[in-house]
Amino acid sequence: MSEKSDITLNINGRDHHIRVESRRTLVDAIREECGQSGTHIGCEHGVCGACTVLVAGEPVRSCLMFAQQAEGKAIRTVEGLAQGDEMHPMQRAFMDHHGLQCGFCTPGFLMLAVGVLEREPEISDENLIDVLSSNLCRCTGYQNIIKAVRSAAAEMRRS
């Protein structure tokens, strides 16, 4: 279809030298070329947020970005949250508060919440719900996700 070019994606601190078409979405490149399948594809039109990753610290819908646009920027995905066996406070909070059922939307919610709280640790409850309403979950009814994120926010502020 179209020409491929060589790019380097830095995901969770590791460089991936890959060759992709210019139309290749970032999420496809992360999953297929870079083998990081923890980031999920839910709609491919930027509404559901399952594919949310952090690009240069900002939560981004990786289905709406081309892989080439992310070159040279630090990309963080769900695989980079835990430090070895030690889960990130956000991951632990989701487990403690039953903030996931099928787990498909979970990586997107984790990255969205971590990204926002790192930028704005003192975010108000009201604004937090606004932020979380940008991603879709079909299992939990959101209440436990909100509880988990609030609890992790408190812990992230302490540490």
Partner: protein, 781 residues
Amino acid sequence: MTTNRQKLVGSSVRRKEDGPLLRGQGRFAADINFPDQLHMRVVRSAQAHGRIRSVDLTPALAIPGVHAAWAFADVAELPPIGFRLTRLEQLSAYRQTILAKDRVRYVGDPVAVVFANDPYLAEDATEHVIVDVEEMSPILHADQAPGEFASNLSTEAAVIRKGYGDIDAAFRDAHRIISLSLAIGRHSGVPMETRGAIGHYDSATDMLKMYGAAKVPHWNRAQIAKMLGRDPAGIHCYEGHVGGGFGIRGELYPEDVLVCLAALRFARPVKWIEDRREHLIAANHSRQQTHHIRAAVDREGRILAVDDEFYHDQGGYMRTHAATVPDLAAAMLPGPYRIPAYRAVGHIRLTNKTPCGTYRAPGRYESTFVRERLMDAIAAETGIDMVEVRRRNLIDKSEMPVTRNLETLGTDIVLDSGDYVKLLDKALDKSGWTELQDELAGRRLAGELVGAGVAMFVEKSGLGPFDDVRITIGTDGFVEVVTGAASVGQGVETVVAQICADALGVDYERISVIHGQTDRIERGMGAFASRVTVMTGEATRLAAIKLRGKVLSTAAELMQTSVDQLDLIGGEIVQTGNGVGPSIGLTEIAGALAPGSRFLGDREPGLFAEASFESHHMTYPYGVHVAVVSIAPDTGAIDIERYLVAYDVGKAVNPMLIEGQIVGGVAQGIGGALYEDFTYDDRGEPLSVTFADYLMPTAREVPHVDVIISEDAPSPLNPMGLKGAGEGGTNAVGAVIAAAVDDALGKPGAITQLPILPQRIRAILKENAWSKPRSGSVGFL
């Protein structure tokens, strides 16, 4: 020896499933890849109805990297997909072939498939398949006159009739007759993971494998075998992580069969991952029905008879569920009330829209809306308070069990246990119902549009007929529970491990639970109809008890004592009573029974036990929903201020998971009540094809939900008293929101249709403005 000491059953232990899912280590369908795989892409009909003149695959085949392409002629030898449940013979002619035969019947109908080396390329190539269709006028309304499905075949595929008692006499003698016409929109489960299937053929062993299976892998395996003309022993289905089920996912669809057929023919792995637009037009829809219901009531508002006629919009074909949804709607409509005479007539009509199947609380979300609207109308017309009218008609605890003289899913409906009045009281107490009425009256006087509603329902769960479980203790002391269940994300592994840990006497952490793997267990029913905790749970308990006996008798021999001096606690065999001595571990027992051990002698090798649980009746949990809503007069937007669910599940294995099921179910119910609808234009073009058109609730729209998990009425049908918890959160949402909106508008019976859109509210408010302003009175009249 103490037995059956419960420790984990009843407690909110954290889930076994969470670790990998939180770390991004899940294995969903799209995460499965094989070397040299082909990617399949489906060419879908752009017309709602038409005759296929020709399908030209050549331009697509000319593209480098395209391996093959098929239209119907290439798959003509395969029969259509069969029925899994509620089979009616006259429905067979309406089944779907894996590619459209001579007509297209909905926008999204698979017409052709393309196989290519790359998924982007496969998608490009589908645009080069030329489908020539002679467009025909579509049938879009199931409640208008039926048309022709094929020559001599009406779009009315069947009429379901259920009932008992003398309806005509009841209506003749009634003090009052109350009639309503009501409609439910087109909704679906819409799991966050789209469908996916990967076919893999191993020619060395002549084994066909299908990955991406869910919900009912064993049934799908048998059906694929039948369609491909293969011995079922030569096919296996594998369930990985599943990104939500809700009734829709895991049913056998054309695409599942196509990847299997392609993998066989090409002897290469074939992968298909659906995109979201495809999902919204091709995976099962559900719920769309129109009901005309009437009740005969006496002077005190007691129901003498209910008579319902409804039209079920099935869409383009009859799929695996056959008549399940309308059958359940008709069978479950009576709910928790005493109804001396009952008649339901359900017309199953084909239309040129996406075919339908089940969606969480199938048939009940619909019929609870209809029945509870009827109860509200009886209250309004007789002037009896909406709570009181329900109370007068509720089946009393003393009447249990109640045989309904109705059947569904091959079982007679026998309400096994329940104290409906008590649960209603619990819900009203917790919501502060009396004070709430005063508070709302005050706010209405101040000009606010606020109101409250109550809705009640009976659910069903624990559908049999069987489930098998095999539990094995390895020589490393770890326990493996192999089930024929499936997991769609609801926490099956956790619940089964809890039950096993208690009944066997081992640590929860040492138990692993297998589900959805047809090569691990001969038969399995899978996960639907809120059945797993009841059926698989009890089979697990039975197998664990057997295995515990085997452990203890082996230990007694090894320790030269008697079984009644031993107990199995936390994976250790300890001496009880007067016996004092060293304990031994499961590793030693398993080692003693391992093949080749000196102890083994004539004994059967291996430390395992198998059990089956059979049940020919369902169990019937029941619930109450209470909602408070306010309406913004300028926009017509509805805000759910408060929401409460009281649900009796007999015995709660894991309250945290049950609450999760209920709250998640409420969120889906709210979607159907206020936002979600698959709509079509007058040519049958679907208008809800993205998440910007099909509006699912977000964290903004779903309120906090108060949950009462009640255990007043354990099921007599299984020793733990279990009833399923998967669907009670969804069941009555449409009903209770409608009641609360009516109350807020001060207009009983205003809501006759779901979803309740702002446009409708604005229209009602305009009508209200022309009539006299509302009085300050409380409640319905």
